[in-house]
Symmetry: C2
Subunit: 220 residues, 2 copies
DNA sequence: CACTCTAGGTGTACGGCGTACACTTGTCAA
DNA sequence: TTGACAAGTGTACGCCGTACACCTAGAGTG
């Protein structure tokens, strides 16, 4: 029954088509109907391969987790965790739709569990107490996902819309700009000139956190 | 035309009803139709007071920003920013639906702008260079919103579902648990016993970051 | 070989969503 | 008294996820 010309569907093909569609068109464009259309198939055909939309998202998230490089356990913990953080930000930059979906899943796939385990193992091997490992994990992940969240929300559309938005708000801007002098100085001045390098900005906060953790490593 | 018994609709009443509904039933339950029903009105009536659903969300976000205590400029900067961070987390705990919506808006209300301006002003008054103020802002907000994101996603539903999920996954757990020894030690051991205090956990990372910034204050 | 079983693709239909558009109706200014 | 206008209504459209019944090509079995 496979339409002879088409390569035949399976869960993996559905999943990667879904990831590709979300990457290219945004998560709000990922509907079962559009995904089916993309695969040259009728919407209901998808349900032979994924239970429902939510399960589709679970699988997509697991793909993203699979792209994150787990830290080595037992070596230079700071370098390992730094690489893992950078790797996570890169994955979330490739797949911005994943931010805000990854943390909340009730289904934890093996890639997810493997990564969590490796980070905790890395921290324990570095000499962090169990209690401190929890703290360290918490602060790192909050920062990483929070940064990715900010980047997603400020990043491309806002940059594209910038001229439009700026123009539309210019009239009221002129009126109220005096109320926000520091915003003017920092955003209107510095950022407008020097720009905003996400990768560099990310490393600033990351190193601040890792250095802070290093100092506390043997206290907990 | 106001249905004589009802207090008459206006944008503020619509907005606070929307916030209340999202708080109580979750953002996915906030549909124009349900909100209208809640207000004893037909769905289309809402459109006399808000342009569309997206504008409704803009207004709701502005309410949340209004609940965040802006830092005082010129006093003890660390204490002021600490309070602001705590105040932000509290607002996002009251309104979990706001996480992930606040950063991305293209419409910036006065409460939003005022808060941003105050934080930047506080940093500048503390002696941070413009460049360092950007870094400092970035790392703080990434952490704050990231923490709120994690809290939202782990927090109440997952806690409620915990028994269910644990039970359902127990059978495969037994099989694969050996693959994740550190997860077992930290989550199965420490966390299961000592629990997880969000407020305390938040302060750990927050103070780590603020102390780190203090050290860098005059370098940039 | 004939036969059944079944995995995978189809078509139809339902209830819910946001909202465009045309309408009624209560209020008040002139 | 009138007539304009703001606020609420009713209907309808095109999306969405997905339940359910159906078809059909090919693999497995006697």
């Amino acid at each position: 029954m496979a339409r002879s010309s088409r390569p035949a569907l399976n869960p993996d093909r559905v999943l990667s088509a879904a990831v590709a569609l979300a990457d290219e068109r945004g998560i709000e464009s990922l509907t079962m109907r559009r995904l089916a259309h993309e695969l040259g198939v009728v919407p209901m055909a998808l349900y032979k391969h994924v239970a429902h939309r939510e399960a589709l998202l679970d699988g997509m998230i697991e793909i993203v987790f699979g792209e994150i490089e787990p830290p080595a356990i037992g070596g230079d913990w700071k370098a390992a965790l730094r690489r893992r953080a950078v790797s996570t930000r890169e994955a979330l930059t490739r797949h911005p739709w994943a931010v805000g979906l990854m943390e909340g899943r009730t289904e934890h796939g093996p890639a997810n569990l493997r990564l969590h385990d490796a980070v905790l193992g890395c921290l324990r091997a570095a000499g962090f107490s169990v209690e401190m490992a929890v703290h360290a994990y918490s602060v790192q992940d909050a920062y990483i996902y929070g940064f990715a969240l900010q980047q997603r929300d400020m990043s491309p559309e806002s940059a594209a819309d910038f001229a439009d938005v700026a123009q539309r708000q210019m009239v009221e801007y002129q009126a109220v700009l005096a109320d926000y002098p520091h915003l003017v100085e920092v955003v209107g001045g510095y950022v407008a000139e020097s720009g905003y390098d996400y990768a560099a900005e990310f490393l600033f906060g990351l190193d601040l956190i890792l250095d802070g953790l290093d100092r506390l490593r043997l206290d907990g």
